[in-house]
Every structure is written in structure tokens, then in C-alpha cells.
């Protein structure tokens, strides 16, 4: 939730009806001793325990929820991480890992009885290898920091979440972050080649490296997107790509969201995969134009930005084809960029959409569901109904190529009940996404925000299988508890088999 100024709750307590795991009383009682032990591992200013100094850590990007941790621990090398985790494992102390703390789903929300393990000191790029096209970085390096380290040779790191200035590559691994270019270039998981990771036992493993695919089970594929529940990543190797030779964009206005959606489907059906394809609805267009004044048409109901990137000859060819498709589908306005400045202007409004909405409303709540694109008219109609039901406006920006919807619910946290209504509105949107065949989260993660909705997508058996993976990595449930799963079952209980003995030689199954 990216409320800008939500101060709806007294600091030091988790808000709303969110139920977090019961704090371990024995750990709280041993706090002073635990802090002393941690100081022996991470000396000096690496352990923070005063309320005032811990205050900046009490929430992440989901600011409606806040909680002071047991202590903040800021290790500076893998050996320290290993010792801290081994200590916590031996002493039953919970651990919440955190990169930059930009999570919009509360994935890095502290717990009263857990240390907050901040990875900010892991901020060095360790290796740049242009011949093999990889960068190896510590997890606290920012997403944009990786691109900045290789841009002088014309390379970049493809996933570009909108928080890329601040968010860290370690956090990207935890959340499997996306961005506007992932239909063509993939999510974090498609761009990470290796990690060094510390298990809760303190054991250090390396998965992958500068080569492709696993030589056995794909543990790396499971680590990416595991929201800090399986281990703490201390080193990340990513692939880098050559920046496309050219990029051009088309800005197309439509009389309805349905027409814009049809255009998106037609472009893909024509065999074109744009580098980026974004849609905005009327409220988002108006807010963006009022904020950045880039010349967005204000008489349209939906605006598409379609960006083609690649070799110049190809981009020019495809721009023509996309323009023909859009014209054939009754667009009201169509502009193809003819200069880099113009292309950047097309994007300026979209990229400023969130702060632009922030200007017209005291607070907003950013949702993140993915739907099959063809369900867009139904979902948009549903959101109009919900908007009336809850008495709150909603602006929509949409990664149209991959069906990832970001409704922004406008509310005022100072008006009693509005935050609760915004949250109920958001829940209804996500449940509708699931109902039409979509999912609860496209790129922001489950965290605490969508944890209690997991049952709408997965049944008990599905969730039990997910949790058995957790048990293989962290049998005591010490890493980031209270996130992702509505209820963490005890691993011993999950391990039991419930098959009644007997023969059951299934008379019907063909056998040979």
C-alpha cells in the first residue's frame, strides 16, 4: 500500500485487523541478553536497539502497518550474516530480512519479537563481466545501480520496477520484481543467474553463477520470489543486455477502454511483442496531464503507450504496423514519437502517474492484480460498481501487455473509516481478479497485505505443498513469519501422511 501520508495508527503497533504471529514471550524477556550476544557478532553501530533509532525501520512501503522490531541488525559481510542467523536459529529468535524497505505488500514489516536484518551495508558491485554479460552485486545495490555500472558500455539490467532508484537487487530477488518491460524481457527470475545465500542454520550455499539453468533441481527458481521466507541472499549474479539501438513509442487515444484493450490484443495477435505497452484510464490521464503537462489528449477514455525497441529498421517497420492496427480499430488520436525527447514525454506522464494521483487525493492505495487481458472490460465495469459502493474514486494504470493492473484507490486517511473502505475496495478488486482467472499479485508480492486472501486462489492442499518447501528450508518458521501464508502449520504436522493403509487396486485403471 503506498499511502503517502497515512498516519492512521499510533506508532509502535500494527494497524487494523491484521493478525501477526503471537510474539514469543521468552524472546521478549531475553531481549537485553540477545542484543548483547548480537553485538558480539556485529560490533559497533551494527546493532540498533533504541526506540528512536529504530523508528525509521518500523514500516516498509506499506505504511499503514508499523511495528518496532526487537532490534535492528546491520551486518556487513556474509560471515556476520551466517553467525547472526546461526545464533537466531539456536536461540529461537525470529528474523525479518530487509533491503531498502520499499515493499508495497508489507513483506519487510517488522515483528515485535524479531530482529530486522537490514542488508543496506551490502552495497558493492563485485564483478562486471562484459564478455559473459553478467554483473555480480551485493544484495543492497539498487536496481538502477546495476544499470548505472554498465551503461558506459551500452548495457543495462532489464527488470525496471518503478521504485528502481531505491529498491535493491536483493529485494528484487525476494519479490521477483517486474516493471514495464517484462513482457519482452522477463521478470527478475528470468534475469537472475546465481545467488549466494545463507540458510537460517547459518550454512552458506551458492546456486547458479555465470551459467544458465540448474544442473539439478531448480532451487534458484524457488528462491526468487520467496519473499524472504527461505533464506538471506548475500550475493546476486544477473545477466545484462545491450541497450536496444532504438526505441520509439506511439501514443494512442481511444473512446473506450474496451477499444484500447482490443488494440492490445490485435498487436499481440499480429506477432508483435512491444518493449512496453501501458494503458491509462481517464482519471489517470487527467491527473498525469495536470501534473506534467506533456500533451496527453484529454477527450479520450483510454490512452495506450506502445513502445517498440530494437534495431532501427525493425522499430520503424513495426511502428508503421502498430499505427495501422490502431487506426483500424477506431482510435481518436495517434502520435508516433519522432525524437527521443518526444518519446520521453510520452512516458513522463505514465511514470508520474502515481505522484500525479497523489496530487488530487490526500492518500491513495495502489493495488496489483493480474488478469487475462480479455477480462479487462468486466474488471473495469466491476471496479466502477465498487467505486460507487465504497464511495471512493479509482484511477487505473495497467501494464496492458501482461495484464498487470494497478488500480489506485483515492481516499483520505484523516476521514474516519476511509482507509478501511479503501482496503475493502482493494480486497474486492483482487477477488474479482481471481474470479476472472487472474491472480492476487503480479509484482508487489503477497507479504502481509494479501496473505489472508491466499485462500481465494489456493486450497488447503495447495498451500500445504507450498509450506512443505518452507519446512525444507526453515523448519522452525523463524524467517519472516506472518508473511505470505494465512496460517503457518507446524512442519511436523505437515509431514504426516494421511493415507489409510490397504490395497485399493483401482479396478478401473488400465494396467499392462
Amino acid at each position: 500500500m503506498s499511502q503517502q501520508s497515512a498516519e492512521a495508527h499510533a506508532p509502535g503497533e500494527v494497524g487494523h485487523a491484521l493478525v501477526m504471529p503471537e510474539p514469543k514471550r521468552d524472546v521478549l524477556a531475553r531481549r537485553a541478553a540477545i542484543i548483547a550476544d548480537l553485538r558480539a557478532i556485529v560490533p559497533g553501530e551494527g546493532v540498533i536497539d533504541s526506540t528512536i533509532e529504530m523508528r525509521p525501520y518500523e514500516s516498509d512501503g506499506l505504511t499503514a502497518y508499523r511495528q518496532l522490531p526487537l532490534a535492528v541488525v546491520l551486518p556487513s559481510d556474509t560471515a556476520q550474516v551466517s553467525k547472526v542467523l546461526a545464533y537466531c536459529h539456536a536461540n529461537g529468535v525470529r528474523v525479518v530480512p530487509r533491503g531498502a524497505g520499499t515493499s508495497l505488500s508489507g513483506g519487510a514489516l517488522p515483528l515485535e519479537d524479531a530482529i530486522l536484518l537490514g542488508m543496506g551495508k551490502f552495497n558493492r558491485i563485485l564483478d562486471i563481466d562484459f564478455d559473459n554479460r553478467t554483473v555480480t552485486a551485493q544484495p543492497g545495490v539498487t536496481n538502477l545501480g546495476i544499470t548505472n555500472a554498465v551503461v558506459h558500455e551500452g548495457f543495462y539490467y532489464a527488470p525496471d520496477p518503478s521504485s528502481q532508484i531505491a529498491c535493491t537487487i536483493g529485494g528484487n530477488v525476494a519479490e521477483n520484481s517486474g516493471g514495464v518491460h517484462c513482457l519482452k524481457y522477463g521478470l527478475t527470475t528470468n534475469n537472475v543467474m546465481g545467488v549466494e545465500m545463507v540458510l537460517i542454520t547459518g550454512e552458506v550455499i551458492r546456486l547458479g553463477g555465470q551459467h544458465l539453468d540448474s544442473g539439478g533441481l531448480d532451487l534458484l527458481g524457488l528462491i526468487v520470489g520467496s519473499e524472504g521466507l527461505l533464506g538471506v541472499v548475500t550475493e546476486v549474479t544477473v545477466r545484462i543486455l545491450k541497450k536496444p539501438e532504438t526505441a520509439r513509442a506511439v501514443l494512442v487515444g481511444f473512446p473506450s477502454s474496451e477499444a484500447a484493450g482490443e488494440c492490445v490484443a490485435a498487436i499481440i495477435a499480429a506477432g508483435i511483442i512491444p518493449g512496453g505497452m501501458e494503458m491509462m484510464d481517464k482519471l489517470a490521464i487527467e491527473a498525469a496531464e495536470a501534473f506534467v503537462k506533456v500533451g496527453y489528449p484529454l477527450d479520450v477514455e483510454a490512452l495506450l503507450i506502445v513502445e517498440l525497441d530494437g534495431p532501427e529498421a525493425e522499430v520503424n517497420h513495426l511502428i508503421e504496423r502498430v499505427s495501422q492496427i490502431a487506426s483500424g480499430l477506431g482510435c481518436m488520436t495517434l502520435r508516433a514519437s519522432t525524437s527521443e525527447e518526444e518519446r520521453m514525454a510520452f512516458w513522463a506522464g505514465r511514470k508520474a502517474a502515481f505522484p500525479a494521483v497523489g496530487r488530487i487525493s490526500p492518500d491513495y492505495y495502489c493495488m496489483d492484480g493480474t488478469i487475462p487481458r480479455k477480462a479487462l472490460p468486466r474488471v473495469l465495469a466491476g471496479m466502477i460498481e465498487m467505486s460507487e459502493k465504497y464511495g471512493l474514486a479509482c484511477a487505473n494504470v495497467f501494464h496492458a501487455g501482461d495484464g498487470n493492473l494497478h488500480p489506485l484507490i483515492l481516499y483520505d486517511a484523516n476521514k474516519p473509516g476511509e482507509l478501511e473502505r479503501a482496503e475493502a475496495f482493494g480486497r474486492d478488486i483482487l477477488l474479482l481478479c481471481v474470479e476472472v482467472g487472474g491472480v492476487l499479485t503480479g509484482e508487489h508480492g503477497v507479504g502481509v497485505e494479501k496473505r489472508d486472501l491466499m485462500g481465494s486462489m489456493f486450497d488447503e492442499t495447495d498451500l500445504a505443498h507450498q509450506q512443505r518447501l518452507k519446512c525444507a528450508f526453515d523448519a522452525d518458521g523463524l524467517l519472516n513469519p506472518g508473511k505470505m501464508f494465512p496460517q503457518l502449520h507446524r512442519c511436523a504436522e505437515l509431514g504426516r501422511m494421511h493415507i489409510s493403509g490397504g490395497k485399493l487396486p483401482f479396478p478401473d485403471i488400465p494396467r499392462f
Partner: protein, 414 residues
């Protein structure tokens, strides 16, 4: 290369409920199951003996295909050939270009299933640019060794709801769960293709040329190097009379023309240039994808090595010195190695991979063709360090505690 059939019984469930029933029977009766589709890749992995085969080949049929949504779902036993034909009719494809192990393992082409493709995480020459099967896995339905049907993932291309089990189960060779239905991302098929050839490069120089091409603006979608010793075994290259480095260009014709001209300028200094039109190109990349140069003598051991591209030539040199032969795909990142005889010489190959790659690059060697005795005695997959090995055992404990599903296929005791 025929495996003595380890099978005393073959069970062929017709739907997911019957798969559940079969696994529950195995658990309660203390039996082991060889999880298989049509069995085309049975000779991959460690040689195991089970009480029965869980034959999933009756679970067939595409259950969802929406070209404009770039998504396809099919039951696990659906033939890959059927899916490819369906996609081609809408000018789409599986962009990871799954290889066909048929020629390499002495079996007919085109008999594999979607479940087998995902269970072995297939890929092809487009791997460095478009990913492997794992990168296109969106959703899965499966039955674990607990005899429980479960699902994970979804049917949309952008989804981070819960652990990424569809990816985690790809490449698990049926040892954690038996797939019943899979959902994959599909993509438009390029309009046409061409191949730019560079003649006469040694392996190390070829690696540099491929790196320059892949690191250029000109969107190469395949980069392979075939040393002189093997060029004669590929019809499209047989007349070259020297080593050949091949760079594939795909897309719309004006783009291909532009990129070829630019690449010719960039790479002309490396050696003599040639090029192949669409039809010959398609034949070349299919031959490389399916490892046709090693389809001739099925008795010889074959390795598949993944490494950092710039580490590849040193590994190749060790192999050639020992009398073996190799060629390179994935700009050098994939090395196909054929040993001079049936002896895999695992220490030599894995030693070379470890030495050339070091900790920074990592890398792994999989023994993809060897007789059953060798595959029973040796680590077929890259051996795991003790900590990772224990982790993998705990995963097996979670998904298949009774060791019912293809036990030992990947690792002893797993």
C-alpha cells in the same frame, strides 16, 4: 542403447483422480513408481529400478489456448508435436525451442510429451535470449508423492502469488510430483530467419566473435560454434571444409537485412563470412538443437555442460585432448561433448568444468548418454555440496516422504 525394462507393471491412469489413486496405492503398498509420459527420455538420469511405471500418456489434450493472451494449457501427456502444430497454425511457438532428445538417445523424433518437456526443463539454441522451459512455466497441476493433487502458479504471465513451484518443479524429473496439467507462456513465431557464418575460427576466437555478436545491438537469437572435426556431420555445414561459427537472425525481413549488414561490418575481421537462407538455416539450427552430430554412434558417452561462455574453450580443449569431440551452443555457454567410447570419464569432464569456471562461473556437467551400468554407478547430475544435498533431501521428504516417485532418478536417496 537399450535399457533393460525395469518394469513389472505399467499403470495408465486416465485422469488426475486416477493418478492420485495410483500414487496412494503405491504409498500404502510400499511400491515405487517410474514417472513417465511416453518414455522417450527414460535413458536420461540415473538408472533406477521401480516396481511399476506411472504412465501419464493417457492424460492428453490441450485444455486452453488463447493466442492473444499468449497462454496455453494442456494435460501432461499431450504430445509436444501436437502442441507445436497447434501453435504454428496461429504463427506462435514455444520460444524456448525445446530440443528433441530422440536422435541422441536412439529413438524416433517427435514422440515426447509436454510433461516430459517440463520435467527435464528442455531448451534450445534460443536459451540465452528467450529462456528455457522453466522460464515459460506459468502454472502446474500435479500429484505429489503424498498422493495429493495440488496446483501452483496461474494462467497469466505476471504472477508472484506464492512460491514459484511451477519453476521449482521444472527439471525435477518426476522426483517430487507427477505433472497432470501444465500452463505455459507462448510467443509469436518470427516471420523468417537467416544465418551469418564465420569460417575457420578456433574455439577461443569463436567465443570472442560470438560474445561480440551477442553483445551488439543486432539481436542475435542463436550463436553456435562447430569445430572442423564435427562440421562434416551437419549437412548444412558439410561443404565448409573448416570450422563454422553460426549466428542466427530472426524477425521481419527489413530488420534481418539491416542487422546482417551491421554484423558483417562488426565481425568481418574475424574470418571469412558466408550466410544461409531461411530453409538451410532452419535445418542447421534444428540439427544443433537436437545434437545430431552425436546421433551416429549411440555407444559413445555424451555430456551436456553449462558454463560461462568465455570458460568454454578451455573445457573443450581438455575434451579434445582426451580424444573426445565437442561443439558449442548458447554463445559458448552450452557444450555438447562426445567421448571417444562408452567410458564417460566423469572426473576428467567435471574437473575441466570446475577448473575453467571456478567459483565465480560455477557450471555443471550432466551425463546425458551412457549405458545403464554407468548411469547407476556415476553421478549423472552435477554432484551437490553437502548442505545443498541435505536441502534437496528435505524437499523430497516434504513432497514424497515414502520415496515413491522415481526415487534415485536424480540423486541417490532422493
Amino acid at each position: 542403447m537399450t535399457d533393460a525394462a525395469p518394469v513389472i507393471d505399467r499403470l495408465r491412469p486416465r485422469d488426475e483422480a486416477e493418478v492420485v489413486e495410483t500414487v496412494r496405492w503405491a504409498v500404502s503398498d510400499g511400491r515405487t513408481l517410474d514417472v513417465a509420459g511416453t518414455g522417450t527420455k527414460r535413458a536420461l538420469g540415473r538408472h533406477i529400478q521401480t516396481d511399476a511405471t506411472l504412465d501419464l500418456s493417457a492424460l492428453t489434450g490441450v485444455t486452453l489456448y488463447e493466442p492473444a493472451e499468449l497462454v496455453l494449457s494442456a494435460r501432461a501427456g499431450t504430445p509436444v508435436a501436437e502442441i507445436e502444430a497447434l501453435l504454428a497454425a496461429s504463427s506462435q511457438m514455444m520460444a524456448f525451442e525445446p530440443m528433441d532428445y530422440g536422435p541422441l538417445l536412439g529413438r524416433p523424433r517427435g514422440e515426447g510429451t509436454l510433461g516430459g518437456l517440463m520435467a527435464t526443463n528442455l531448451a534450445g539454441p534460443r536459451r540465452p535470449f528467450a529462456g528455457a522451459a522453466r522460464d515459460h512455466a506459468l502454472g502446474v497441476r500435479a500429484v505429489s508423492g503424498r498422493g495429493e493433487a495440488f496446483k501452483a502458479g496461474g494462467r497469466v504471465v505476471k504472477n508472484v502469488t506464492g512460491y514459484d513451484l511451477p519453476r521449482g518443479l521444472s527439471g525435477s524429473y518426476g522426483t517430487l510430483a507427477a505433472f497432470t496439467e501444465l500452463t505455459i507462456k507462448v510467443l509469436p513465431r518470427p516471420e523468417t530467419l537467416e544465418t551469418l557464418l564465420i569460417y575457420g575460427l578456433d574455439d577461443a576466437t569463436a567465443a570472442k566473435a560470438m560474445s561480440a555478436a551477442v553483445g551488439s545491438y543486432y539481436d542475435v537469437s542463436g550463436a553456435a560454434h562447430v569445430p572442423f572435426a564435427l562440421a562434416g556431420r551437419i549437412p548444412a555445414l558439410a561443404l565448409a571444409g573448416t570450422s563454422v561459427t553460426a549466428l542466427r537472425l530472426e524477425g521481419v525481413p527489413p530488420s534481418i537485412r539491416h542487422r546482417r549488414e551491421k554484423l558483417e561490418g562488426l565481425l568481418g575481421g574475424f574470418g571469412g563470412l558466408g550466410h544461409l537462407e531461411a530453409e538451410a538455416s532452419a535445418a542447421l539450427w534444428a540439427a544443433l538443437r537436437d545434437v545430431e552430430p552425436f546421433a551416429g554412434d549411440l555407444a559413445r558417452a555424451v555430456w551436456r555442460v553449462s558454463t560461462a561462455p568465455m570458460a568454454a574453450a578451455a573445457i573443450g580443449a581438455t575434451v579434445v585432448q582426451a580424444g573426445g569431440a565437442c561443439f558449442y551452443d548458447w554463445a559458448g555457454g552450452l557444450i555438447w561433448i562426445e567421448m571417444p567410447d562408452a567410458d564417460p570419464r566423469a572426473e576428467l569432464v567435471r574437473g575441466a568444468v570446475a577448473k575453467a569456471g571456478g567459483q565465480k562461473s560455477g557450471g555443471h556437467a550432466t551425463l546425458v548418454r551412457a549405458d545403464a551400468a554407468a548411469r547407476a554407478a556415476l553421478d549423472v547430475f552435477q554432484p551437490l555440496d553437502p548442505v545443498t544435498g541435505a536441502l534437496v533431501k528435505r524437499m523430497k521428504d516434504g513432497f514424497d516422504p515414502s520415496r515413491v516417485l522415481s526415487p534415485g532418478r536424480m540423486y541417490a536417496g532422493v
